[in-house]
């Protein structure tokens, strides 16, 4: 499946669950913004590798809210320790969705090690994550997203959809995320 199809299904599942959605830097955030913008989406504009970590802190702080993270293979490989931390500290309301296109899709599709056979679902299990699933067809993605699997690795095709850049400033992204999600009342 194309990555934007997977993102569209994930955004739909997140909206149905009233979940907070943390989205990885680059084209994945742009694709999410174009298919389903919500104030509950947090679009990363920097700090590559930290989507899974931001979502983990949020899920621990807000145990009553579902938190979904859309991450990528290149970004997870940059912060592999996150899988060990998630294995031991992630709460039930946390779900990490790794969209694995086997390349750095936002910078010219240079291959990552998943292209050479590194299996992120096996790495997650070896790190101690108990509920891990691997999705290779669009038809099985939605049930996985509705499950309580902690880590879902989704194999997607390489390539970016022709979508514009996100028309929001960093301040707008975070302020509406915090305010409309009623996460924090500023004095």
């Amino acid at each position: 499946m194309k990555r934007i199809e997977a993102i569209s299904l994930a955004a739909e599942a997140a909206a149905a669950q009233k979940a907070l959605l943390i989205s990885n830097i680059g084209f994945p955030s742009r694709e999410l913004f174009s298919v389903r913008d919500r104030p509950e989406n947090f679009y990363m504009l920097g700090s590559m590798g930290l989507a899974s970590s931001i979502g983990l802190g949020l899920a621990l702080a807000r145990p009553e809210r579902r938190v979904m993270v859309l991450d990528g293979d290149g970004s997870v490989l940059m912060n592999l320790g996150t899988l060990a931390t998630i294995a031991h500290y992630a709460p039930e309301n946390y779900q990490l969705v790794i969209l694995d296109n086997c390349c750095y899709g936002s910078t010219g599709s240079q291959p990552t090690c998943t292209h050479l056979g590194t299996d992120l679902s096996v790495l997650a299990k070896a790190a101690g994550v108990k509920k891990v699933s691997l999705v290779e067809r669009a038809g099985t993605l939605t049930p996985a997203l509705q499950s309580h699997d902690t880590v879902i690795v989704v194999k997607v095709e390489e390539g970016n959809a022709p979508v514009p850049i996100i028309g929001l400033s960093p301040e707008e992204i975070i302020d509406r995320f915090i305010w409309t999600s009623r996460l924090r009342a500023f004095a």
């Binding site: 920097g46 590559m48 930290l50 970590s53 320790g81 960093p170």
Partner: protein
């Protein structure tokens, strides 16, 4: 005043209720205090940058976060401080064991020891270097400034600070 207790009481005074950490030998008593506090969610993390990311999410969720680390870890989280915390306006209290100064027995600590203050200055990150007698107040004030300005702030605790632990 016990140097670890002084920092802990400063954190408690301003309601720090979330912490991530990568250990330093000089932080061990403080880490034990934080870890044993039922009002603080504490995650030992694998790398300081990961800790900065988790703290950012926790703040968005309403928590008051601190990152406890050695100054070597500052180098590991520069990009997160700049392109996450400073970009979006996310406060963070960094409690940093500052190694590599006078009396440092490990030569590998010296380069980052010398670079710590210049790096913080280059990034425009406020930093404080209290003695144990003022540490409670300084740590509390550091968080208050971080929260008010929505920026990271650092408290540097060098070898002299920990001399009487």
């Amino acid at each position: 005043m016990n140097p670890s207790l002084a920092v802990y009481q400063g954190m408690k005074r301003v309601g720090i209720n979330f912490a991530t950490s990568v250990p330093c030998v000089n932080l061990q008593e403080l880490l034990a205090l934080v870890n044993g506090d039922p009002d603080i969610i504490h995650l030992p993390v694998t790398r300081e940058e990961e800790g900065a990311g988790i703290c950012a999410g926790a703040w968005m969720g309403g928590r008051r976060p601190a990152l406890l680390m050695q100054n070597s870890g500052l180098g590991n989280c520069i990009n997160a401080l700049a392109s996450l915390d400073m970009l979006y306006g996310i406060p963070l209290l960094m409690v940093i064991s500052h190694r590599g100064g006078v009396g440092e027995p490990i030569i590998g600590q010296v380069p980052m020891g010398r670079l710590t203050v210049p790096l913080l200055d280059a990034m425009g990150i406020l930093h404080f270097q209290p003695l144990p007698a003022q540490a409670e107040e300084t740590v509390a004030a550091a968080w208050s400034q971080a929260a008010a300005a929505r920026r990271p702030v650092a408290v540097l605790l060098d070898l002299e600070y920990w001399r009487n632990k």
